[in-house]
Symmetry: C2
Subunit: 450 residues, 2 copies
């Protein structure tokens, strides 16, 4: 009886979860408010937005059996390429050897996952917008494009409907639901760098480009078509360079010429992009419980984070991996049990990554340009080289491993304390490669981080 | 044109605010979902719930010109009367001299305020339940008892509709609204102690009675009819003594006989009360902004706190006082300006009292029974006696003054640090009245708290 399951939202997480659940033989329906965009021609006006896929994401794709299908759509980025104000660039590797994060187009990725879910037998219901969920009996009311309504009563219901989840809204008025939504001071706008006149990438294609400017920044990720998608992060207001102070084309040009001059030269569509693309806000949400009466929140619906660690999707994919592991272990006799185990085990980890993502804005937009920070990174890289198992930098624990986020967070805090101490040496710039590295490791071990 | 103003919710805060706004000559309407309960006979089944009114509340009532009308409804409580497990009681004064907090029946108080608002010319619309607010044009849709709907477009809209505010809900889906709702592990249930057989109070009528038991507690406040209203605070689950573990009359009796034996003897209606009265949850909410497009949140709608500092209503009344001061200063030409000044100035203070209320549960349910805590309080009382202006205990700053809550909070933190240090003396029990009090004050002064 409990073999029928309904998912709300066919975004990245809902689509991957549908694949997993179909592989377990369940009867899966997905309800999505958008049109079936797979059939729409996206070549023309459609914006190309991309995102970084890393270890946790790959691991989840692998278990679902679709790693190989995804790989051709991705472009590896082995490090950050920092652009300073004078147009100089320098490269900071993300990890060791071939460790990379992978740029992938959100649109093609979502299409691919959804095609796969459909091929596996999931039923897709597009243009079904959830208007209301009755948590008590899992009755979902949808509105259809013709203005009519349709009601479905679910046996098991999963909300993968993103940061503004309708299922979470329904939970919110239930007894004792804890919830927080928090917007940060910054917003963002997508822009683009087309291929160079010779048809090739206009910049290094194997890096995530950053123009760190303290209170604001620009980033760019490569696309398969040899263009880059850029994201401009600015404060909404309260600073000289902010969205409220950009009124017209001239202001846009002015900001880019002053602060991103090398990028500006590569952005023929800057003014059009800036006018056309929306200015979007950035939200962090945390809530608990995630489950109630055979209904569950997953992905951004359960924990939407700011994008500064590139982990939102990866974390949502890991959600699917973990949930599938619990279904494997406990079967589908008691979804309440599975959902309960899931939320208890997972919540501390999503709290940790939400916090890390929040903190990382300062690192990306400010620290990466600071010479002292670079030395700090060099020391950490050296530690990692000398003690590959015992000292793994926080970024690597998060991005290149599947260690629990909460554990990475705790170890990161200890490393941070020790490194703060190391960096107090006023001659650190000269001394950094003659430090007693054994001793630094020892301090971390004493504090319990190994 | 901006002289018409609509309030949602005729609770304590909405009613007092209506009085203030009428006194400024504005055209005030209040919409309230309940029936006009003033005409209902509340003698029979109606529960009598009471609350503590303190300095900030009185100050706001005074400015509204109704202090004298309220006074006869109140019963002063000069301190806490602690009941230990053996039925011994001891008294802890709240302040100095005649400082007291005042018990008042929520129901009669709300009636009185609403009568006054009506007498001043506010239009009351009962049985108008807000179903939806369109923030863009301040269009409010009400449902009426006959099932029909009514729509009102407001010029200026104020949400005084409590912790589950419908206006706040509408704000929540607006751009960049920060919101947090948090339930604590404990719930509560109201009970009662009727007058003694001789018709008099069954216990000391000039105290707030507390039975502190660590993870749970019982409190009782006196009523004018010589009864007491008791509130039992228990964890919902996870402890031996918790709501989930009380299944029947026998369990109730058992818990009361074991932990509140002296109270039990005075509670002939215990079992009936326990069965009849709901178990309620305790919520803390914080949000920002409070205003958007000529609409404002106030009172619990803007900041619902847990009841452990007895400040929720007092804080809401102070909101009214401050808002009225801004209307006085800036007039009603620009409500946006007035609302903006209000939220900017007030938000740090409501954050501070929300936090203090949260922290105070431990003080009420646990510390008050600890001999060391009593010595600590004695030292603080002595400091206050010696330096009446320079050392005011946190409880007094919050309860008996109108110092900004955020300032009281900051000073409280400094005092706490200094007192933690003082209490480290292993012989403090013997030495407490021979301390160098000048020096203790000096430490606080150095830290900037005076
Ligand atoms: C600027 C930016 C950059 C990012 N970069 C990265 C990155 O580099 N790496 C990374 O790992 N993560 C990144 N993220 C995070 C990532 O985008 C999200 O974590 C991820 O998209 C979450 O997937 P989801 O399926 O849970 O939600 P969504 O992707 O939001 O999908 C939700 C789906 O539900 C549908 N839906 C919503 N409401 C309803 C309704 N009422 N009825 C029916 N259907 C509904 C939506 O149409 C949508 O299809 C980034 C996020 C942002 C904002
Ligand atoms: C157990 C407990 C003890 C407390 N003790 C104290 C104390 O000792 N001292 C103290 O200062 N504070 C105390 N408080 C806090 C105090 O009760 C609140 O701060 C205060 O009641 C807030 O007043 P309000 O008018 O903002 O909201 P409410 O009192 O909640 O009033 C809101 C009004 O809006 C109406 N309403 C709600 N929704 C709608 C809708 N959709 N349409 C139309 N109308 C609507 C409601 O019917 C109600 O009349 C206590 C709280 C609790 C829970």
């Amino acid at each position: 009886m409990k073999e029928k399951i309904d998912l709300l939202g066919a975004g990245l997480i809902g689509s991957l979860l549908a694949i997993y659940l179909r592989k377990r033989g369940l009867d899966v329906s997905i309800y999505e408010k958008r049109k079936d965009w797979r059939k729409m021609d996206s070549s023309g006006e459609g914006r190309s937005i991309n995102m970084a896929l890393s270890f946790r994401g790959w691991k989840a794709l692998e278990k679902a059996g679709i790693r190989e299908k995804v790989l051709p759509y991705t472009q590896p980025m082995y490090g950050r390429r920092i652009h300073d104000e004078h147009g100089n660039t320098f490269f900071q590797p993300y990890g060791k050897d071939n460790q990379a994060i992978y740029s992938i187009s959100r649109n093609s990725f979502n299409k691919l996952l959804l095609d796969e879910a459909e091929a596996q037998g999931a039923r897709l219901h597009f243009e079904h917008k959830v208007e209301h969920v009755q948590v008590g009996n899992r009755e979902v009311r949808f509105s259809l494009p013709d203005g009519s309504a349709k009601t479905v009563r679910s046996e098991v219901l999963i909300g993968s409907d993103g940061a503004y989840s309708s299922l979470r809204n329904a939970f919110q008025s239930q007894l004792r639901f804890n919830f927080k939504q928090q917007y940060i001071s910054h917003g963002y706008k997508e822009l683009s760098i087309p291929p160079a006149p010779n048809g090739d990438f206009a910049m290094d294609p194997n890096a995530l480009h950053i123009w760190p400017r303290g209170k604001f920044m620009l980033i760019a990720l490569p696309n398969l078509d040899k263009s880059f998608t850029c994201t401009l992060f600015l404060p909404f207001e309260g600073y000289k360079v902010s969205f409220e102070n950009i009124h017209d084309d001239q202001d846009v040009d002015q900001v880019f010429k002053t602060h991103f001059n090398d990028a500006h030269a590569l952005m023929p569509n800057l003014l059009k992009d800036f006018r056309r693309n929306p200015t979007a806000a950035l939200i962090n949400t945390e809530c608990y419980p995630w489950t109630e009466n055979n209904a569950l929140l997953i992905g951004d619906a359960a924990h939407a984070m700011v994008p500064f660690y590139g982990q939102g999707m990866n974390c949502g994919f890991e959600d699917c991996y973990i949930l599938d592991g619990l279904v494997e272990k406990y079967g589908t006799f008691s979804w309440d049990l599975v959902f309960e185990k899931f939320q208890k085990g997972r919540k501390p980890d999503t709290d940790a990554i939400c916090q890390l993502a929040m903190d990382n804005f300062v690192e990306m937009s400010d620290n990466v340009a600071d010479p002292k920070f670079l030395i700090r990174k060099k020391i950490e890289a050296r530690l990692h080289e000398l003690f590959p198992k015992e000292w793994v930098p926080l970024y690597s624990m998060v991005t290149f491993s599947d260690m629990k986020y909460s554990e990475a967070y705790a170890i990161g805090k200890i490393q941070e304390k020790v490194m703060d101490q190391v960096m107090r040496d006023p001659l650190i710039t000269q001394n950094w490669d003659r430090l007693d590295y054994e001793d630094i490791l020892h301090q971390v071990e004493v504090a319990g981080a190994v």
